[in-house]
């Protein structure tokens, strides 16, 4: 009985997610204004997400009589304050939610899992590199940062993008050359000093880095970011991934620390498996179930964060449709329930599906305890 439930949940979850992705990809075709774009198929909803219907502005309810010519042009879910169709905004908003929720957390997970894994696995006392390599890599990183931050003219007016791109590429190549040449030189001359191994306390450094990232408030990072890059979907994705990776890294690190002391890992070590192989083939798959729950939570938080950012004014532009923006506009206008209920249902469904899939992956013991005795 209970197992069936989980499978039912998982199937429902996968269904919702696939509908979501499908709608997001097909959004421009599903809902666009027929006289503005030239797709060969007539749209399902004859309104784009920015099409303003002057005759139905000021939040028309889905149930009252609307000032439209035909049933095809009816606003099935009502309109918002400006006169934009809510259904069209929901469809195009799934695009935004997919990008902002999914992609940003995907990027954040890659970064976070990587750092958490190596921090916990290598700990403070395992990673050794030669002094020479340490010196040359530090120097080349400093050189790269100096070049990229101070010499490449990012913010200067009147410099075209090709010049910036060429300079960046040239400097990256220059830094790589420097790295290899310095390595080579250190191997040839005074090799004994430079070949000594040093212990790098990787765990401490990464933990301090993660702590510092957590210590910075989200709003400061968002404000700084939004003034460097004008707010848009891609800048929001970048921001959220830069902020979310530290939480995922902390979780991964805790999980891997717990798993590291289990028997099969020690067996793998004694068998002589290399570090990376142990990490990726043995630890990671066992850490993923617990991680998937926190990743699912992170995806949900990212989508909710977007609506809070719209409320604060740091979110997407007015011309980008998103569920969060609809809910934020619904706040002032609480009598227009359709502005909040439909995006709310959409957000709820997506969040619920992510979490039920994560539940399924996490391999909960579904047989229950109280039935056992």
């Amino acid at each position: 009985m209970s197992l069936k439930n989980i499978y039912r949940q998982k199937r429902f979850g996968i269904l919702v997610i696939s509908i979501w992705i499908l709608v997001a990809i097909l959004a421009p075709i599903l809902a666009h204004s027929p006289n503005e774009s030239n797709y060969f198929l007539p749209p399902l909803i004859p309104y784009g997400e920015q099409t303003i219907d002057y005759k139905n502005a000021q939040s028309v309810s889905p149930f009252e009589t609307q000032n439209v010519n035909s049933l095809y042009r009816r606003h099935w879910l009502g309109t918002d304050e400006l006169g934009r169709d809510v259904l069209a905004q929901l469809i195009h908003g799934s695009n935004t939610a997919l990008l902002v929720g999914f992609c940003s957390i995907l990027i954040a997970s890659f970064i976070g899992i990587f750092f958490g894994l190596i921090a916990a696995f290598f700990g403070d006392h395992q990673w050794k590199i030669t002094r020479g390599k340490l010196l040359s890599s530090l120097l080349s990183v400093i050189l790269l940062f100096t070049f990229l931050l101070s010499i490449v003219p990012w913010t200067i007016e009147g410099v075209n993008t090709s010049e910036k791109a060429i300079l960046t590429v040239v400097f990256i190549i220059f830094t790589l050359l420097f790295f290899y040449i310095s390595n080579f030189l250190m191997k040839r001359y005074r090799s004994r000093i430079f070949q000594q191994n040093i212990l790098i306390p990787l765990d401490s450094i990464l933990s301090r880095l993660i702590e510092s990232m957590e210590a910075l408030p989200l709003i400061l990072l968002l404000i700084a970011f939004s003034s460097l890059i004008s707010p848009s979907i891609s800048s929001l994705i970048l921001m959220i991934s830069l902020v979310a990776w530290s939480g995922i890294a902390k979780f991964t690190r805790a999980e891997v620390l717990r798993l590291k002391s289990s028997n099969y890992i020690e067996n793998a070590k004694s068998l002589g498996y290399g570090d990376f192989r142990t990490m990726i083939k043995h630890i990671l798959p066992n850490a993923l179930p617990t991680l998937s729950v926190s990743i699912a939570f992170a995806i949900s938080s990212a989508i909710m964060l977007e609506s809070t950012l719209s409320f604060l004014g740091l979110g997407l532009q007015a011309s980008d449709a998103s569920w969060g923006a609809l809910m934020a506009s619904a706040r002032n206008d609480y009598s227009s329930w359709w502005l909040a209920v439909f995006p709310g249902i959409a957000i709820f469904l997506v969040v619920y599906s992510c979490n039920s899939i994560a539940d399924f992956i996490s391999k909960d013991d579904h047989s229950g305890y109280s039935k056992r005795t």
Binding site: Y54, S227, A318, N332
Partner: protein, 579 residues
């Protein structure tokens, strides 16, 4: 079985606790509703706290509003007649022209004017107040700049109710601003009478107080009084005294029992004090404020958005609503340094694209008036010169060679050898829904003629910086103006272009010379003629497309009587209200 029972009992215990808790809360003592009726107290809502109530540093809107009830100045503008009315002074100053381009402004004080302690306000007090405003404190720089046009002050020893200011800069605004500083009692602000040792010219010449120990002491005393927000030091001659100031929560003012002007028969707002207590509650969110009005926690709600105003208007059994056109302007600005916007035909085309009537009806619910000039007066015409007309826009664009070369729906043109697409950015500040709506409407209409507009919002600090930096294309901005003679220099003069408030970077020698003439102290008729010519120039060159001014919308509970709504800040006078 036993375990199930136990869990149920635990659950029920928890639920019971929660119910008790809620009951405790729900039986709160009855609110201040009844109390405010008894006391004839008017409760108003403001969205932000006053930053300072000290006369030297009061700057923001809320602080100024409260300060107008606490302190008085020599003269002030009467909101109904738009002319000067004497508050502490009897009336307008008498302006005499002396040789060598020196002007003398003489004020006659009201003999009945007194401070709280019964002491009559004399010319010496006016002199002290002016010295206080000119004192060389580090935080006093703005006041010193503002009043630096006063060269010297003379008091007649035989006549303590007259005072004369001497200045060599006389322009159309001088008589308005020479008497608008607050008159302060030295007992509260300079008890040791340190400033009496210095003359006006001494104070104007000093840059800092470091070298003079007693001035430094006064500066420190004033600074700490500002920083501690100590209420007892803030005394003036106005109708109300400051009872209580809980920072971030509320400000309470109480009517003075024996105020000197209560027997005066003047009808000007500056002599009213009908309510016994005035209370300002600080509620940042408008929806919460609306709920507070409905539950009776506040009496007066101003600055409503049109949609909420309509909701309250329809509930006329409980609320009274007032609306009035504000004095100010809102415009779409064009950055004249932008390569695309340099031709005035393009700017006019964008003005023709903008559907003002639709914007007023939809975005402002009709609660805005179309005004095509920044300073409206009786003689200026108020019609929209560029009424919505897509065909005219298309003709204008064609006349300056914008054509759709590649048939993608977007116009292109060759500028400096490159094929440039007609793509513009519309900038506004975040969290402003009406400006976002205007941008979206403009975007949709522009698409119909082949212009692509990117609606972009940035946060307030970046918005200010980009406006001043000239890093804009199209931008939306608005401001309130004062009921003074018009001053076009900040908007249109070339000196305000780079880094000033001339955000359009408009530089025209003709405009500069017209502005110089308008600012002189000429008669009202002459000025109106020149202003008309100036407006003709502006509307042809169109550095800004002035669109509309929204209405001020106020709603009060039915118990509040006597509210009159005006076009200028503070839009209504709480001292006129009573229950």
């Amino acid at each position: 079985m036993q375990s199930n029972q136990r869990s149920f009992t635990h659950l029920f215990r928890a639920l019971l606790l929660m119910l008790i808790f809620i009951n405790l809360i729900a039986c709160i003592p009855e609110s201040q509703d009844d109390k405010s009726n008894l006391l004839n107290k008017i409760i108003m809502r403001e969205a932000a706290d006053a930053k300072s109530l000290h006369p030297l540093t009061v700057r923001d809107a809320v602080g100024f509003k409260v300060a107008l009830f606490m302190y008085q100045s020599l003269v002030n503008i009467d909101y109904e007649s738009q002319s000067l009315v004497g508050v502490v002074a009897k009336g307008e100053p008498q302006i005499d022209s002396l040789p060598k381009q020196i002007y003398k402004l003489t004020y006659q004080l009201r003999p009945e004017a007194q401070f709280d302690n019964g002491r009559q306000i004399e010319a010496a007090d006016i002199l002290f107040s002016l010295k206080y405003y000119l004192a060389p404190f580090t935080f006093n720089r703005d006041n010193r700049d503002y009043y630096q046009f006063i060269d010297s002050v003379k008091i007649n020893k035989n006549n303590s109710t007259a005072i004369s200011f001497y200045t060599h800069q006389l322009n159309s605004r001088t008589k308005f601003i020479s008497g608008d500083f607050f008159i302060l009692p030295y007992e509260s602000f300079d008890p040791n009478r340190i400033l009496s040792n210095y003359s006006i010219s001494d104070l104007k010449q000093l840059v800092k107080t470091d070298s003079l120990p007693n001035l430094l002491q006064l500066e420190q005393h004033t600074d700490s009084s500002i920083k501690n927000a100590s209420i007892q030091d803030l005394k003036g001659s106005g109708p109300y005294s400051l009872l209580n100031w809980e920072k971030g929560k509320r400000i309470q003012l109480e009517k003075k029992s024996n105020w000197w002007a209560s027997n005066l028969n003047e009808q000007s707002v500056y002599f009213q004090n009908k309510a016994n207590q005035l209370q300002i509650e600080i509620i940042p969110d408008e929806t919460t404020a609306l709920s507070a009005l409905k539950s009776g926690d506040i009496d007066v709600l101003q600055g409503l958005s049109p949609k909420n105003y309509e909701k309250l208007q329809s509930d006329s059994s409980r609320f009274l609503t007032y609306e009035m056109e504000k004095r100010g302007y809102q415009y779409i600005g064009f950055n004249m340094n932008h390569p695309i916007l340099q031709e005035k035909e393009l700017r006019k085309a964008i003005a023709y694209i903008c559907p003002l009537k639709i914007i007023v009806d939809q975005v402002y619910y009709g609660k805005a008036s179309i005004s095509s000039v920044p300073y409206v007066s009786a003689t200026t015409s108020n019609e929209d010169q560029y009424a919505h007309n897509l065909q005219k826009a298309k003709n204008l664009l064609e006349s300056i060679d914008w054509k759709d070369v590649d048939n993608d729906g977007l116009l292109e043109k060759e500028i400096n050898g490159e094929l440039v697409e007609l793509e513009l950015e519309f900038l506004y500040n975040t969290s402003n829904d009406s400006r976002a709506a205007i941008g979206m409407i403009l975007k949709q209409e522009a698409k119909k003629v082949g212009i692509k507009i990117n609606v972009q919002s940035v946060e307030w600090s970046i918005y200010l910086e980009r406006l001043r930096n000239g890093n804009t294309t199209l931008f939306y901005y608005g401001a309130q103006t004062a009921p003074l003679p018009p001053d076009f220099s900040s908007l249109f003069h070339s000196k305000s272009a780079f880094g000033g408030r001339n955000f359009a970077q408009y530089q025209s020698i003709q405009a500069d010379s017209l502005i110089a003439i308008i600012n002189k102290n000429i008669s009202v008729d002459k000025r109106d003629k020149i202003v008309k010519a100036f407006y003709g120039l502006i509307q042809d060159e169109l550095p800004y497309y002035f669109m509309l001014t929204p209405y001020e919308l106020i709603a009060t509970s039915k118990k509040v009587k006597g509210l009159r709504i005006y076009s200028d800040r503070p839009y209504y006078w709480a001292s006129e209200l009573y229950k």
